[in-house]
């Protein structure tokens, strides 16, 4: 009897430790920005930024002026263009936008349209001022419906705020060729 007590204590400790290890969330799940989910068409706000989706459209080709000449970009998939209205709260902020596709993959704004006007990655958001911006993504068509726009400040720091704007209810309009201003 004297020997069974410590054995039982050790077994109970092992079971407790195993339970803790199995249920402990991994680092990436535990240390991340606080996400605010925003329903379609509504405005959301975090500590530094706020905004809503004004509209969305898709295109097979995009042309835009850059360095005095017209550039054209095509894709084997599809370009998704999301129109946004944004505002800052307390600090001037640069932004980062990503599209969380239907599969859960994250598509950042494409760097292939560099030079087109009003792109979100070029915007300095100022406190108290509303700004219009577009976010352009290159992604397979089946990632669009059921996706969401993830909006954060450029650093997207853990334990800060992040907006998850749900996609509009209506299907996006489609054009073969979209011309953007530079």
């Amino acid at each position: 009897m004297i020997r069974i007590a410590p054995l039982l204590t050790a077994a109970a400790a092992a079971v407790l430790l195993a339970g803790m290890m199995l249920t402990n969330p991994d680092y990436n799940s535990a240390v991340r920005p606080f996400e605010t989910r925003v329903p379609p068409g509504e405005t959301g706000q975090t500590r530094l930024i706020g905004g809503r989706i004004e509209g969305w459209r898709t295109a097979d080709r995009i042309s835009f002026p850059a360095f005095g000449s017209l550039r054209q970009r095509d894709t084997q998939a599809m370009f998704l263009i999301v129109d946004l209205k944004l505002f800052g709260t307390t600090d001037s902020t640069m932004l980062r936008a990503g599209w969380i596709g239907a599969s859960g993959r994250r598509y950042d704004t494409t760097a292939r349209i560099s030079g087109a006007f009003l792109q979100i990655q070029d915007l300095w958001l100022q406190p108290g001022l509303e700004s219009k911006a577009i976010a352009i993504f290159e992604l397979p068509e089946d990632e669009i419906a059921g996706g969401a726009l993830m909006l954060s400040d450029r650093i997207d720091a853990p334990l800060d705020g992040r907006l998850r704007l749900a996609a509009p209810v209506d299907a996006p309009s489609h054009v073969d060729h979209l011309e953007l201003d530079g």
Partner: protein
């Protein structure tokens, strides 16, 4: 009926020592087999045109190797696909380990990486979208056409890496070696 003789202390110790040594040897042997499995092979396997290579974040399929004598450059055409769940800026890992060209035993500078679709430098790679790219190396002025070697490195990924269970991209290891004679493009 007489009682069985009790084993001596020396015999009991000997048997226990033998059992302990056996268990220790089994543990050490299995540990060493794991170490052997994890060791990087000294001779990387040969790569072939048309066969995909796992470089960690991307799958890289060499398509053709061409020598442009008029421009003095070697061009490796390839198809690359993002294997991760997010847009990749570091398509050849971080810090970047692009394929390394070795001419006459001398490693060359990193190549320029061109997205064929735009004929401009590749800046990022979206998930599920494979792209045709070209890796361009300027050849030394006195270089003559000969078989060349291109080494490929793979970056390791660990889902739960450290005390905190954080996922991490870790070190690089040589994953394949392509040896080929470039085709001439006039």
């Amino acid at each position: 009926m007489s009682e069985a003789p009790k084993p001596t202390l020396l015999r009991r110790l000997w048997l226990r020592a033998l059992a302990t040594a056996g268990v220790t040897a089994a543990v050490l042997l299995s540990w060493w087999w794991k170490v052997e499995d994890a060791r990087t092979p000294e001779d990387a396997p040969a790569a072939a045109f048309g066969a995909a290579l796992d470089l960690g974040r991307t799958a890289f399929t060499p398509v053709a190797l061409d020598w442009h004598p008029a421009e003095g450059k070697l061009v490796l055409s390839a198809v690359i696909e993002n294997r991760t769940g997010e847009t990749q800026v570091a398509v050849f890992g971080g810090p970047p380990h692009p394929p390394q060209l070795v001419l006459d035993g001398v490693p060359q500078d990193p190549p320029q990486i061109i997205l064929r679709r735009d004929d401009e430098p590749l800046q990022d790679l979206q998930p599920r979208l494979s792209e045709e790219i070209a890796l361009v190396w300027p050849a030394p002025p006195d270089w003559q056409l000969a078989p060349v070697r291109i080494d490929f490195d793979r970056q390791a990924f660990k889902l739960r890496d450290n005390l905190y269970g954080q996922s991490s991209w870790l070190g690089f290891s040589r994953t394949a070696r392509l040896t080929a004679t470039p085709g001439i493009v006039p």
